[in-house]
Amino acid sequence: MGNRIVVPFGPPQHPVLPEPIHLDLVLEDERVVEAVPTIGYVHRGLEKLVEKRDFQDYVFIAERICGICSFTHSVTYCNAIEHIMGIEVPPRAQFIRTIWMEYSRMHSHLLWLGLAADAMGFENLFMNAWRLREEILDDMEATTGGRVIQGSCKVGGIRRDIGDEKLGEMVDHLKKIRPLLEESNRIFTHDQTVRHRMRGGLGTLTKEEAWDLGAVGPTARGSGCDMDVRSSGYSAYGGTRVQTGHPPPHGGLSGSLPRPLGRGARSSRPRRTCGGKDARRPCRRKGEGQSGWRVLCLLRTAPPWRVHALHKGQRQEEHRPPPVRTPTLTNIPPLVKMLAGIDLADVPVVVLTIDPCIGCAER
């Protein structure tokens, strides 16, 4: 048993982290005893900005809470405003929003899977995941005009329509992508390098711990909690059959690997939710997917009464910031729990399993 020392992980610039977060790791020899996170390096103060912006303009600011799950943030903000003002959104707009949200989710998953592979040092898999992500982004760009920030959502509907012909093309494209995603998943589940890196229950979080510490999204589902905000049926998800939960971990794998696997496995399903027929015809549809994790927090924690204050004819100065609570923020306490007791060399891998999106978390 050596003396305890404190090693800064990410000061906050760190090779493994695309975004700055600072962790003070208390070490005994190579073993992490405790991790003390520090955030605030990306804090901008977006919630306060609502006081200076019109609510229609703020849709675009809300979108810039995060550049990865950007569309979801704008939809969530619009949903809140529509709820308060009693605006009914046309079904087609609801469906197209859902299509874009699913696309956002797919590219977000692939991005994160790539970064998780990068954290393991599996460069090839990282590049492959990002190559697949570009396929998704192509359709996003073709339909919205933007790769990562779309600007396609507005209060009461959407700013752009997707033609029926294009919807058909998108379905065909998804069918082509599916086998590629499945192949990528197979590497994540069966490749020896990945399995070895995730060996021995690395970063395990029990179901009770996940619940008590407030884990959400894949982090919670990886621990066995059944949680998916899309099952609440917002936007057009009401007509979809959302699969929640995780596939059972493959033999011998435990710990943090179910988190990446869960997302990966579900990402491989072709998004029939996005199918042309479905968007034309709002009816019961085949839709599968897993996450909705980023939306979860926004929906849950942008209480209507707060945003309500915006629309009661108050003066600009009296506007209240809408409280936004994003998943990474709530997943930091579980992360701290996971980090305790692992080796220093495993810290990057475990940090990446919660998909740390610091831009979201700090706003």
Partner: protein, 150 residues
């Protein structure tokens, strides 16, 4: 591009951006745009880096970090501010925690102003920064195809 005799390595730091530019910077390195074919590698170590790519504006907390990272880089070095937020603060300029663009802290050579830069201009900017460098004449000279510091 025969005048290039050295492949610049980049270091990326997320100032206080929304991630949009960060992932586009990383997308430059991945197979579709493939900046690495020029030998340009994303390094985590400022002492190995030639090009400092910053996304997002500057706030109180990250100001010393940006400055410190910049000072650790060996000369000659180039700073690329990717995105409108890194250029001027962008839509976040009115936020209470944003001081402004990167040039509030360190000198910027190349600006790539866009709310969500397409990888193409970022790619151009980071693969050939000396071509666009405002301080080209002062700090970088090409002699017989070789880039040297003055």
């Amino acid at each position: 591009m025969s005048y290039i005799t050295k492949s610049p390595w980049i270091i990326h730091y997320d100032g206080s951006s929304c991630n949009g530019c960060d992932i586009e910077v990383l997308a430059c390195l991945t197979p579709l745009y493939d900046l690495e074919r020029f030998g340009i590698v994303n390094t985590g170590n400022p002492k190995h880096a030639d090009v400092f790519i910053i996304t997002g504006g500057i706030n109180e907390l990250n100001r010393p970090i940006v400055k410190n990272t910049y000072e650790q880089m060996p000369d000659p070095k180039v700073v690329v501010a990717v995105g409108i937020c890194a250029t001027s603060g962008g839509v976040f300029r009115d936020c209470y925690n944003i001081l402004g663009g990167v040039d509030k802290v360190i000198p910027v050579d190349v600006y790539v102003p866009d709310a969500r830069p397409d990888p193409s201009p970022s790619l151009t900017a980071s693969s050939r920064p000396w071509v666009f460098s405002k301080r080209n004449g002062q700090r970088w000279q090409r002699k017989g195809g070789e880039i040297i510091n003055d």
